[in-house]
Symmetry: C2
Subunit: 227 residues, 2 copies
Amino acid sequence: MKVKATDIAQMASASDVIFDALRAAIAKGDIAEGQTLRQDHIARMFNVSRIPVREALTRLEEQGLVSTQRYRGAVVTTLSTEEIREIFEFRALLEPEVLRFSVERISEEGLEAAKRFAHAFATETDSSHWGELNRSFHYSLYEASGRPYFLQTISAALDRVDRYLRAQLVLTDGMARARREHEGILLACIRRDAEEAAALTRQHILGACVSLIDFLDRTRAADDTPD
Amino acid sequence: MKVKATDIAQMASASDVIFDALRAAIAKGDIAEGQTLRQDHIARMFNVSRIPVREALTRLEEQGLVSTQRYRGAVVTTLSTEEIREIFEFRALLEPEVLRFSVERISEEGLEAAKRFAHAFATETDSSHWGELNRSFHYSLYEASGRPYFLQTISAALDRVDRYLRAQLVLTDGMARARREHEGILLACIRRDAEEAAALTRQHILGACVSLIDFLDRTRAADDTPD
DNA sequence: CTTCCAATTTTTGGATCCAAGTGTCAATAT
DNA sequence: ATATTGACACTTGGATCCAAAAATTGGAAG
């Protein structure tokens, strides 16, 4: 055995583990918006001191997932409707462009993988998996683009709105529409029609945005007037 | 005086100061590529312990300005030609879009400010200020876009390539061309011709990219064969 | 009952200390 | 002369400890 573990994957330090766990929890919506993350509390959860926790929180803040005020702790960021709209606008600009690159380069195996994710997404009955499968489908297509920086940026943008997106999938007709639209995107990719695939992706994102904001307007209005 | 300092700008903690200083130093190219940043060394420079230094380095890594290997310290990231090309491609997609939004919204005062930066850039003789003035000119135009997330993302991308960009301005004919191109962009903005301004910005970025990569190919080839 | 203020409790940012991993270089064996 | 090994110094990730800032509590005054 020539290849050591450290060559393939750097052994994860405590702060890496905490960072990933918190990031996933925020993306999935397991940690409520506006909730304060107490360093000591998290430290006890992971059986470590506060030092690696602080490092993880620092990274989360750099990613925009929490916002910190000096001596007042880290709070899961609440995005305004405008901020959400901007991030979707951002995705609607980047993702079609990435897909254009991918369509030119993706292999048959890559298309097969995307097809499997689309199928898994369409047939999954446990709604808690929808968000993950949705993301996997799109990423499986984007990965062939050979644009790591684009992917990383898209990923960061998606992390910020993931919990809203998941809610929109589950609590509206988002799932049914996403299923149809994925089908269309996939077929365009198989036909190697980059422009069509890009246009459909753009519509897919902007459509989800409209639906999500409509949904948020209703729920947030209801929250503000609970009487 | 009703407004306290803490209301406008959160009092900077030690790690903030260190982070900003290191980020600026890397962007300006004051810290050489590939150089290892020793926690203890930086800590002594700022008269603090290693804890806030580690926080700053963590944030720099999250921004992609340094890369860390467990127990081996933080090294200023060296970008390959391909990575640089991708980041310019990224900017060439985002910045024209942001400028489109700006042109619709920018005030006369905003245009005046941009004009002043363009003039300052064109007449500055100290080449060490060119990079900063170049950035100020573009930002003064982008700020009116009302797209904070776009701006933040562009800023992060620019931080990664800033030191290369500065070298290209100073060590090639980049400065002369940038001056002309700024003029064109500015005039298009004043005419409120969003499409023209966007197209010129895209050319401005892609042109700089070609010039920079050509420059890097020559210098790096020379570095690799120093005999 | 409400409002204000001081004392106490939390909680954070940072300093110091410790264990574990890495790099170096001289001594030894081939 | 070159490759191997092992001791030692260096550096990092993390634990523990401390001071300062914030939140909270409880009582006194209106």
